[in-house]
Symmetry: C2
Subunit: 486 residues, 2 copies
């Protein structure tokens, strides 16, 4: 940071309620989360952004490991002939594949795809590793980057040509085992959102025309953003036997008979960071739940020259004590005044600020200020650990409650083309309606208001909310959730 013009440069100039897209881009850049890369569609994830991703990773990775998932690493490049073994994968991803064609000065005999997803390289190996029913279920996961060359506008974390994610791939004896796996992972994604990101998620299925290429069922967790648009926040696919057949994944059962395995795959990307930033942040900048914040607490001493020593000592001791239990930063910079520091740490999303001035020192206290709403409490120095924990719990609860309110206010029922369009136009969010199952009925809405069916209920047998399709009036077979999306 240079010494001049910082105040102007630091502050967010756009408003969340006004130009949401510009505001989002500004928060991402000014909070130091990411920059645009020289190639359109790529970003550079800066240390602050990456630190949040690392914490998210740790949380999810631990859930996986507790549940028997093992991490592995497969090549970033996949031979074209491997992709081609599963026709729907090729069709689905070919238009988006980045191709390596040359190495040094030589042209390769076969083009290699930068992985858009790894079913086509992982399934053949699971197939080698699985022989008998005793080897099942087999679960591997990798944390890696993938490239999907989409032409649409870049939105850091939400939409980038290269993105970080985890992709899990599992094999099971039968449909029941694979389906349980599919919903278990979806449930873990939901848990991650609810307990770590402070975002309530809604789980469901994608309509057939929007499934993962080759999947029998694609389940999804959707999160509603404050601008009324839905984010596909993680997907878990039951792949049936299609991939197992394509990549020769068979096993011998108890009777020594050969059986085809059932497989799943499931992925969650750094789009979760996009949802996190978009959901909680405000016109002062980034807001983070304490679960993921690189610093949970910033201690800001406020001194005059005659009180400097005692204030700094008191603040340093308090910070050191808290450091055993929390992620704490003591901002004792000489060259900045407290107001500047407040703004900077608000911009960067530290959930709790502790102010220490001569009064606090004299009274043996500390002033706690919560980032989301500026709520101030005064805590006894002797009980500071508990007070900080309470304040952080409070911050989490507030963030979750605010996000939950957004969703609850924004699920409406509608019936008939005009009501659907009107409700989506007025309120955003989700519009529930009966659906006949025909993609054409989605297209009709999409063409007029760029909303689509983001979700159907997880339970296929659930009675539709209305007896007839909200668009065409034919018999409804399902409930559809229409929404605009990211």
């Amino acid at each position: 940071m240079s010494d001049t013009d910082d105040d102007q440069e630091l502050g967010i100039t756009e408003s969340k309620a006004g130009q949401t897209g510009k505001w989002y881009a500004e928060v991402v850049q000014k909070a130091g989360l990411a920059d645009y890369a020289p190639m359109g569609g790529f970003i550079v994830t800066r240390p602050r952004g990456y630190a949040i991703w690392e914490r998210l990773q740790e949380n999810l990775d631990q859930m996986f490991k507790d549940d028997g998932v093992q991490n592995a690493y497969f090549p970033a490049l996949i031979p074209e002939s491997y992709l081609e073994q599963e026709a729907e994968i090729v069709e689905g991803f070919d238009p988006e594949v980045a191709w390596v064609t040359h190495a040094g000065t030589e042209e390769l005999e076969e083009r290699l795809a930068f992985r858009p997803t790894s079913e086509s390289i992982i399934t053949p190996y699971i197939s080698q590793w699985v022989r008998s029913h005793r080897d099942l279920p087999m679960r591997v996961n990798q944390w890696c980057s993938v490239i999907r060359w989409e032409a649409t506008d870049t939105k850091p974390f939400f939409r980038t040509k290269e993105f970080l994610w985890q992709e899990g791939h599992t094999a099971h004896r039968d449909e029941a085992g694979a389906w349980e796996e599919t919903t278990t992972r979806l449930g873990q994604y939901e848990k991650l959102y609810e307990e770590v990101l402070a975002i309530p998620g809604m789980t469901g299925r994608k309509p057939d025309h929007d499934k993962f290429p080759g999947a029998e069922v694609t389940t999804t967790i959707e999160a509603l953003m404050p601008d009324g648009k839905s984010v596909q926040a993680g997907t878990s696919h039951y792949l049936g036997t299609r991939f197992a057949e394509a990549y020769d994944l068979y096993y011998t059962d108890e009777d020594e008979d050969e059986q085809v395995a059932h497989t799943t795959s499931w992925g969650l990307s750094w789009r979760a960071l996009g949802a996190l930033i978009m959901t909680h942040s405000d016109d002062q900048g980034l807001v983070l739940p304490p679960t993921l914040a690189p610093e949970q607490v910033v201690v800001v001493p406020i001194w005059q020259s005659e009180t400097k020593d005692e204030v700094l000592d008191y603040a340093a001791e308090l910070a050191a004590e808290l450091d055993a239990e929390f992620r704490v930063h003591l901002d004792d910079r000489d060259e900045r005044n407290p107001g500047f520091k407040y703004n900077e740490w608000e911009l960067k999303g530290v959930p709790l600020r502790i102010e220490i001035g001569p009064n606090e020192v004299e009274d043996g206290e500390a002033t706690l200020v919560q980032r989301p709403d500026g709520e101030r409490t005064v805590a006894d120095r002797d009980a500071i650990g508990e007070a900080v924990q309470d304040a952080l719990d409070d911050v989490y609860a507030k963030l979750y409650a605010a996000a939950e309110e957004t969703v609850e206010e924004r699920i409406h029922e509608a019936h008939g083309r005009n009501e659907i369009l009107g409700t989506l136009g007025r309120h955003g969010g989700y519009v529930k309606t009966g659906w006949c199952g025909d993609e054409a009925c989605e297209t009709e809405i999409k063409d007029q208001i760029a909303a689509e069916i983001v979700m159907l209920p997880l339970d296929e047998d659930e009675e539709p909310v209305h007896e007839t399709c909200g668009v065409c009036g034919e018999e409804a077979t399902e409930t559809a959730y229409f929404a605009k999306n990211y």
Copy 2:
């Protein structure tokens, strides 16, 4: 695993002392660490191999973080024009670059390199983030994969076209700061080898003709393998101001004058896993230090039908107790006999086996067997935690001592062409000799015995071991360490 032919399939058939290369490949595959990928030069890192890598990562990452290094993520693809801004980087890596030329069906306007190393994309961003001296030092690191399309034979972990590594990139005010960084990271690599991998390392500099492209100084940690060859086990580069100048990395100092930064970069790859496997393993299979072993202890119950319940209960309770402190696996499979289990866990490198039979149950004891040398001790059930800790410490100490002996026996002085060649031929290892600084003298040795100068002393001013060059007889300016290498 299928139910037949397992014994034969499980066992290592090659001997380490005989066909070291084949033995190594067999250990890697049969211990379940890695498989060959369909594309020559690539491997698939299996869960067991990846779990070891994850533990290594955790250890090194924590050292970095304790020291102010921040993780980040930069794009996997780098525009050709960015690579070209630093001439030596281009010359050094161009022949090995994998080029992305197409996305979907479109040809790209500019080719993109799969990163062979990231100075050329990271330095320009550090340049944007650094304005004043207050922003320095700046340290970023990324854990990622790189591709270098070398034509030589694949050796899993030692030599693969794509490999996992970390690459750190830092900027400093001056040479002193950057040089300190260079040696600090080298010291951390040394610590990782000594305290986590149980491998003593030797640190030094690379000769000028073997430096990282564009570096002022390349420092290296070398580890000697049991076959007498040296492995370049990690490198840390002082880059001077060359990259800062090429990518416009300047800062304003205290007097508001513009200054060029000094940069470093440093990397350690999964070659460390190669060194680990090669150093400690034996003709029974993988041997791992307890620091990195996915399971530190395997508990094997030995029962007859009439003792099964009590043995299993006792073993399960003991395993559960140890589980609080160690990574423990209870192998209670019904379908395998103890001998089979011993072989399997020896193959897989579990450092300590605990045998529980009816005698152990009756006497309130447990039999501990150390993987490296089969040393057996009997421990009281009541003091099992301490006994296990002692045994694991013992295993680590034995592994380190054995590796250290290998090195100490294999540093020889030699003078004169024939003595150098003879000593290298007889003993392998390192041959110390005076060197005039001329690459031609290295070439002469290399041409005859495929050994090269792997290292010079870290301290440039150290007096050479001999007054004259061991090859040409001219005045020596340095001590050179010749060795064959991986």
